[in-house]
Symmetry: C2
Subunit: 377 residues, 2 copies
């Protein structure tokens, strides 16, 4: 049963003494999310290769799904009939749906962006659609996630200041319309800070969104080609502009080093396809760094993938067996690898929370990265 | 730890009063197999889409892997170094390895069959190999399965009597050589009855193999294109020719109706890729018959795939969700479907054993098939 809207709360439990890192508790109608937290990506109502039981076993507290994809297939009305995404995919814990802005601008064949919305053709069958902030809210309402996102224009990198400035007006206008259209108070609507790599635009966007008073804020339009240093700099001034009492969500970043850099700049939530996508390509994160487990050197390596890992894959299988499964094209390889990488990310965030709580965040960051960077990221 | 060779035993627990069906207990160094039993196929040391934990959860008592495939990749020496297949794939229960005869004659590019063995090229990389009965035993010895199979010539259907007769001489000669070369008494070597669709050849082969005294016998060369009626007829006279005190294994048959027809002719073991292969194509066996779950009619069907099924998939997911996953190309669909189909087969065999033990085999067969045949098989 859904609970009342006022059950969406965010509480900062502890601020790190040396950085802006913090541990928080996000309460949603479907349960609690401890922050900083990593959100596994289940674009099409499934985290690729995993079942909801797998995610439960892994200890995932929240997952992400995608409005654009589910609107096209199976259609939000099907999900609504199922009783929403939680029921459709049998996942009783919190869900966040991305607005689909990023996908409309990257996957679909774009026909026209107007003040009113976006005309596009489906990447699946070429069918024509018109997405507006209002439709985006209607679709997300049908999907029924705990956290929903405003519809925004996503820009490529690099881009001219003039274009980015004009786009920002549209994005802010759409954010306002999303807020107005959003009538389901069981769902928390997050604003998304855009503004490309321009300080003035990012700051303006953050301030304007803060003025609109959202229950949470995302920082979007990053990890699109800019350097890590540029991203950290943007996080530096943007995060500070966002209310300290609300959760901050960095969209689409996943490499451990980025997680650390963002956490110490006050970011609370992360999502990224990297851990799952890389897993399917045999690229596995371990305490000793990245292991490309299909490499020949592991053909007769009967040790665990990561001796320090407690996941199902590391407890039960060897590098040699994983390599064999990848070389033989067995789907089981992709699942065992995904189980490991998601476990790795979730565990990293557990460790980060523990480090902040015991006031040794920078110490943990240093010791973790020292070992992890022995290998290529 | 491996146990003594004399721990491979077969005991008939109960003979059905109305048919030749029987319930038996096969004891191997890695545990007991209750018969009649279905053996899930893990060709490349993995049952496609599943992990060993999954098979354990499903209650699988034995699995099958393939000598030809593992010889080519990862190579039997890698598996030997791992401590054998049980250890390589972390499956502590019984394993049966097929000799690879079928694959050499169906998958590889065949260069020449001689009295001595078969020259062939790998279907993976075109590399040249020469398989003899002796090499086949050496490879199976390295793999370390509990049950291993003789190397035989597999014939296509239809075939001339003359050719089949000559081939039978070769197959019997190779069976003799396999028996001689097989020096690992931790592994039970089964003979394979060939003889195409010719009664005289099948009977001769069965008698000759029985004379050689194997601990178990397979009936091969079926399900290759002959009609079901022809197969049942061959089973009729062949099974009777094989010692009643030894297990009988019908290779490659899986449709429920064939299982029933074979069980009542005295067959104890079955393997087939059908349940797993069909699952990956969204064809699912249910108590009401076959459901092609990606069909449009299930788009908003929020009921369980099979209301009578207790598998993970039926307990947790709906037809609509499975359809969505298949349509969206999600790997999770294939795994959830495979979990169901393997559970279905294993449960069918549990029910068959129970029916024989309670002396209502034909009654159970009739009631099962009546419901099952409502749909197309």
């Amino acid at each position: 049963m859904l609970m009342q809207a006022n059950e969406f709360t965010f509480e900062v439990i502890r601020n790190d003494s040396g950085t802006r890192a913090r541990v928080g508790k996000l309460t949603t109608p479907h349960g609690i999310v401890n922050t900083p937290q990593f959100i596994p990506v289940g674009t099409q109502a499934a985290v690729k290769t995993l079942s909801s039981e797998d995610l439960h076993t892994l200890g995932s507290e929240i997952i992400l799904s995608n409005t654009y994809h589910l609107y096209l297939r199976p259609g939000h009305e099907v999900v609504r009939s199922a009783g929403g995404l939680h029921s459709f995919m049998n996942w009783p814990k919190p869900i966040l749906t991305d607005s689909g802005g990023f996908q409309v601008f990257s996957l679909a064949e774009l026909n026209k962006v107007t003040e009113d919305g976006v005309h596009f053709q489906s990447h699946l069958d070429g069918s024509r659609h018109f997405f507006t902030p209002e439709l985006c809210m209607e679709v997300q309402n049908a999907l029924g996630a705990d956290i929903v996102m405003v519809f925004d224009e996503c820009l490529p990198y690099p881009i001219e200041h003039d274009y980015a400035k004009a786009s920002l007006r549209l994005t802010l206008n759409w954010a306002e319309r999303c807020k107005k259209a959003h009538q389901n108070h069981q769902q928390a609507l997050f604003g998304i800070v855009q503004g490309a790599t321009f300080r003035d635009l990012r700051m303006e966007c953050a301030r304007e969104l803060a003025r609109m008073d959202f229950p949470g804020y995302a920082i979007g339009g990053l990890s699109v080609g800019e350097t890590p240093q540029m991203m950290y700099e943007i996080l530096d001034y943007t995060a500070d502009e966002l209310p300290a009492g609300k959760p901050r969500y960095l969209m689409g970043s996943g490499p451990p080093v980025d997680i650390f850099e963002a956490v110490e700049r006050g970011i609370d939530l992360f999502d990224c396809v990297m851990p799952t996508r890389n897993a399917r390509n045999a690229s596995l994160m371990t305490s000793q760094g990245v292991v490309i487990v299909k490499n020949a050197e592991y053909a007769a390596d009967f040790s665990a993938l990561d001796p320090e890992c407690s996941c199902i894959t590391c407890q039960h299988y060897t590098r040699a067996y994983l390599r064999h499964l990848f070389k033989a094209g067995e789907i089981t390889a992709m699942r065992l690898a995904t189980l490991h990488n998601v476990h790795f990310m979730l565990t990293l965030l557990v460790q980060i929370r523990e480090a902040i709580l015991s006031d040794r965040y920078m110490e943990f960051k240093q010791s973790f990265l020292e070992k992890y960077r022995k290998s290529v990221d």
